[in-house]
């Protein structure tokens, strides 16, 4: 397998032929980037399946407040709107960073990654502030089944964002230390797929948890 991949990616003779442009359509080997992207996409789908289990749990338990506060009393929609804006903009800047990386343009890549990191950190800060406020009000995860499910679901997304931020920093460090090597560009591709997927999950989250919870 590695021999074929190496040939598909590194064979300099194929570069100028123009054959590789239609290679995949003609049933030849796909480039390593496409294979890596596909493999990572499978992982992301498994992550989405895991989140859907948490969503199902939350939807089942949303009414079980055990006399405690419901979402309507707890959720602060303006805060959620700011969180959503942060994550959406960070998804955009992450896309810009991946373009900058593939162009080997440092200022673009580092600037966009810094913006992504800052927006992601802002999102996490607002979320932690919200969690701390809820726990201070006595609405922690132990209060009711609804709140357990809420903290599991939203906290799991927050943990993913934290992991994404750490990954972002290691990608910046790798580019800084090793440059725009092909394998590092593939890692940046995986990172950007991960970050965009977190935003997709947040779309489901703010709709199901916050908008439906606060509006009802």
């Amino acid at each position: 397998m590695s021999a074929f991949d190496a040939a598909a990616v590194y064979d300099p003779d194929r570069a100028g032929h123009g054959r590789n442009t239609t290679a995949h359509a003609a049933g030849e080997l796909a480039s390593k980037r496409i294979i890596v992207g596909y493999g990572f996409w499978i992982f992301l789908l498994s992550d989405i399946v895991m989140f859907s289990a948490f969503f199902a749990t939350y939807a089942v338990l949303v009414g079980s407040t055990a006399g405690g506060p419901s979402g309507r009393e707890l959720f602060n929609l303006p805060n959620v709107a700011i969180e959503t804006a942060c994550l959406l903009l960070s998804s955009f800047t992450c896309g810009l960073a991946s373009i900058g990386a593939r162009m080997h343009r440092g200022s673009w890549f580092y600037g966009a990654m810094a913006a992504t990191c800052l927006l992601g950190a802002m999102f996490l800060g607002i979320e932690l502030h919200e969690f701390a406020g809820m726990i201070a009000r006595g609405a922690g995860p132990t209060r009711s089944a609804f709140l357990s499910a809420f903290f599991t679901l939203v906290g799991c997304h927050g943990l993913h964002v934290t992991a994404g931020l750490l990954w972002l920093l290691t990608m910046v460090a790798q580019v800084f230390a090793k440059g725009y090597r092909a394998d590092i560009l593939r890692r940046i591709l995986c990172f950007s797929l991960f970050w965009h997927t977190l935003d997709i999950i947040w779309v489901a989250l703010f709709t199901v948890v916050y908008l439906m919870g606060a509006g009802r």
Binding site: V9, P12, R14, A15, G18, N20, T21, T22, H24, A25, A30, S31, R33, I34, V36, G37, Y38, W41, I42, L45, S46, I48, V49, S52, A53, F55, A56, T57, A59, V60, L77, A81, T84, A85, L88, L89, S91, F92, G95, L96, I99, R102, M103, H104, A182, L189, L193, H196, T197, D199, I200, V203, A204, T207, V208, L211, M212, A214, G215, R216
Partner: protein, 133 residues
């Protein structure tokens, strides 16, 4: 730099994740794609926040509208940010996505369906207390 030469080759319009064009004069197109995605996603987000708090819409239809808007926004993210499109390189990604959607629907629908039936067939706590008297 055989690798960057190879990357700068012409590529078909629909490309799998990571296979977008990187050629200098086509950067604008790549950024433009992300801008279109950002604009559409912002629009859908603003509409769903508006719908959730407005009194202009018939109230029972609000959850349905929110779900439709969310699914539309996920589609926008998939196409413009993750580049899951209908190109030939993307067939495997789309098939995997279809399988993932199937599992998610089974999981969500199955859980909600079964738990709703359980709730219906089970007496509430008050009724049980009444019977024990």
């Amino acid at each position: 730099m055989s690798r960057s030469d190879q990357e700068n080759d012409w590529q078909p319009l629909d490309t799998a994740p990571g296979d977008e064009r990187v050629d200098g004069h086509e950067i604008a197109e790549g950024v433009g794609g992300y801008l279109v995605g950002l604009a559409l996603a912002t629009l859908l987000t603003v509409v769903s926040f508006f719908v959730s708090s407005t009194t202009l819409v018939w109230e029972p239809s609000i959850p349905v509208a929110l779900v439709v808007l969310a699914i539309a926004q996920m589609g926008v993210h998939l196409v413009f940010f993750l580049h899951i499109t209908s190109g030939p390189d993307n067939l495997n990604n789309v098939m995997a996505l279809a399988f993932g959607v199937l599992i998610v629907l089974l999981l969500l629908g199955g859980s909600l369906w079964i738990m709703a039936h359980l709730n219906q067939n089970m007496m509430s706590m008050d009724q049980i207390m009444q019977m024990q008297r």
